[in-house]
Structure formats: C-alpha cells, structure tokens
Subunit: 259 residues, 2 copies
C-alpha cells in the first residue's frame, strides 16, 4: 500500500476527530461508566465514528479496531487501531493532555502511528522507515537525550494504581533506579518521550488501541518501546509498556525492571 | 491600598515571568537539585528576579517572599508571596501544566491570587470581594459543579508520594469516598477546580508560595480551600491543602478525610 496515502488518511481522521472533540472540552460533559469502570462520553463515541468514516472512505477494505466500537484484529494483513480519546479522565477534568490515537498494524506490527492533542494542536506522526515528525506550536524537537545515565532519567507513569500485585515491586525498582517520577499524562507522555522531554514512560493494563500508535512515534524518534520483558508489543500481550528516548536507555531500564 | 493597582502589579509581574519562561520550555534545560531534592533551573531564578523587579517597581514598600530567593513573611501588613515556576518537574518534562503563582497576603491572609500558565496562555485571577476571572482560549467557565455528591466527585492530587505516614490512610479514605483520582498537575489543578472541571484537589507538603495564590482563586469561584483539618491556610501550618469547587463539597470531603 502507498504509505503516503495511508498517512493522509490518518491525518484526515485525526482532523475529523479534533473537530468533534474540541467543542466538548470543558463543557461539563458527564461520562457514563463502562463495565470496567473506565469513563466514556458522547465525545468519545462521536469522535470514533468520525475517525472510522474518514478511514473507511479512503480504505474501505482495511478493517478498523477501536476502543469504543470494537472490531477484530486480523491474524495477517492491515488493520487500523484507534482510540478517539486516550486519557478520558484527563479530558473530563479539563486537562489538555488527552490524545487521539490512530495506528495502522500490518500483520500485527504497528507501521504507522499518529498522536494528536486537539486542544494544544500538537501532532506526532511516526511511520516505518521515516523519522518521526512533530507539528505544534509548544516547542520541542524530535529525539531522546543522548548518553543519559539511568540514574538521571525522568520517569513518567499515568498512575501508580496500574502497578498492582507483582508489578508494584517491579515499578518500585525502576523508580529507585531513576532520578524522579511524575504521574499523569497518558499517551501524551510518549509524545514527550519522542521529544526527549520525558526519558522513560511506563504503563500497564494497556490495550492495542492504547499502545499501537506509540510504537512508530517512539521508534522513529530513535527510541525504543516494548513490554516489561523486552518483547515487541502485540495483541494478547501482558499489557505492560516501557518506552525510552534512546535504545541504550531502554535496555538499562529493562535491566532495572528485572532487578 | 488600591486593589486595582495591586492587580495591575501582579498582572505585569506574571507577564514578565512568562516572557522569561517561555523561551526555556522544551529546550533541554537541565536542573540543579536543591538540598530537598526538588529541582530548580535557571528559568526559575530568572523568572523570580523578573517578578520581584515588576512588583518592587510598583510597590517598593511591600516585601516579597519567593520560592527561589526567600524573604520574611511579616506578622502583619502586606507581603507578596510568589513561585516563579510551580511544578518544576512538569516544566522540565515538557508538560504545559506548570504555573507562575503570585499572591498578596494581608496580615497573613491571601487577598489576591494569580495563577498563570504561560505556554497555553491561561490566567486565573482571584481578589477579595470580586469573582474570580479566567482568561484563556482553552475553554471553561468559572464556578464549581453544583449539587454534586461526594461519590461522584473527580479527585486530583499532584502525586501519591506526598501522602506518607498518617496521611496515607487519610488520603485513601478520601479516594475511597470519591469517584475517580487523577494524578499530576500541581497548581494548574486548582485553576481547574475554579472552572468546575476537577471537583476536589488535595496536596501535602505545601509551602506558602505553593498555596497562597490558590486561595483567592478558589474562593472567588464559589469554592472553599483549607488544610485537612478545615482550618484556613497559614504560614507555619501543616502543609496540607484541600480545595473543592463548592463549599458543600468541601465540607463533605473534610468529613471523608476524618473518617
């Protein structure tokens, strides 16, 4: 498939989602709670419909897997994987750090990823074989901090609550080995990893629509991303995610996780 | 003293700080670590100098207490209390949620407070006897959500790490009584309380420059703010802070803290 046409489709889908989401921001929209207690709003659902329409208009044969309306990830071939509002809690509380995520998986491997923040108008695009690009007026340049010791690294996680059971000790080991931890931020933090602002981001309980778009963005910025065991992220994995701004720092962080 | 002239001074000081801070954002500026391990950068120091210059030019007789260069809080009379970059960790990791805080205390009581986010260009101003104003292009209106049950409230805290010792159980009680918790955000969260986006914000270990500006902003929006025992915030207090978008919700949250 033509990579440029795929990028244009993702771009158009993100534009369509942003046009839906922006007017809802800070309007007092209230969520319904899903069976897993995560919140969902009318904005999530309308935005996913707009994303699906934009993608299907351009690539009617490519299936779409989305957080709100589901779908099947095929064993092989291409599949769009989308999350209209990653960080619904941030969205609901007026924080401009939620994101729209649009990814293309090919045979289960993310080959295109777009992270969009529609309120600050920031957009990251990663695509196989190309350097990641950042479009936005808030500043920053693509690329992780080089030659950084793990002990100097800035660590980020959406919430400590994700790391229950055995993961609590694993997360504590990584925290102990790094300089500082800051909580909050969802997918936006992985955009900041690509900008060399956050050095390491970790999360758990991640679904394909949570991590698929992050992979090309981080990799195309010279960074690395995997599960906590160092394996490539895949559907049916354990839901852990660790990304770092450089491959060396990623390896050092994996060592710290293992203890 | 003329309230309007004081407001103009705070406004000019925030403008001066923003002009200093903006060019440093996402430039890879590295911190020195202070004795308490909190980070400080050249931007913090230059911004506090600019704030002091702006305030002292207009009110040479009013002392200034600031996070970076100290000062004495007098027992009576007026005193500016300022934090050039609240949320230095957010600033260092490229998150547009750090804030510049400028407050005026009169006989130890905050009577004017300004919260500024220089990257998103959002500014909250609270002043005794006036409704809080919000200036910014990200949306939102001043005022907490009315008639909200505590069980439906969105809770926010900068980090769970603040709540050690006895506070861990206290914080856990409040979390258990509210709908959801989101971490991160520093003073910006109190601006979101004034907009009715976050319902309750809590922090601990807060110094006067961390909380002074928040008090008039939250109160002027119809909300309430105190320490965890319900006492007015004051220098030499225990450093705990709880704010809510309405006075009723604040009382309900205090009850939950007490257990």
């Amino acid at each position: 498939m033509d990579q440029q046409r795929l990028i244009e489709a993702a771009w158009a889908a993100a534009d369509a989602a942003a046009a839906i989401v922006r007017p809802f921001f800070r309007t007092g929209l209230r969520p319904q709670d899903k069976p897993d207690e995560s919140p969902v709003t009318a904005a999530d659902q309308a935005a996913e419909r707009a994303i699906r329409a934009a993608l299907e208009a351009r690539f009617p044969a490519i299936p779409v897997l989305g957080e709100e309306f589901g779908g099947q990830l095929p064993d092989s071939g291409p599949c769009w994987v989308v999350d209209p509002i990653d960080g619904t809690r941030a969205f609901l509380t007026g924080r401009p750090s939620f994101c729209t995520l649009i990814a293309l998986l090919q045979d289960g491997i993310p080959v295109l990823g777009l992270i969009d923040q529609p309120i600050t108008s920031e957009r990251w695009l990663g695509a196989e074989g190309r350097p990641t690009t950042y479009l936005g007026a808030l500043g920053g340049r693509i690329g992780g901090r080089l030659d950084l010791e793990l002990a100097e690294a800035e660590l980020s996680a959406t919430s400590p609550d994700q790391f229950g059971g055995d993961l609590a000790a694993t997360f504590a080991r990584l925290r102990g080995a790094t300089r500082r931890t800051y909580f909050g931020g969802d997918a936006y933090c992985y955009g900041l990893v690509a900008l060399g602002q956050i050095d390491i981001a970790v999360d758990a309980g991640m679904k394909p629509w949570d991590w698929a778009a992050l992979v090309p963005v981080v990799q195309g910025a010279g960074g690395a991303i995997s599960d906590f065991s160092g394996r490539a992220l895949r559907a049916g994995g354990d839901g852990t995610v660790i990304a770092a701004g450089t491959r060396d720092l990623h390896l050092a962080a994996l060592d710290a996780l293992r203890g």
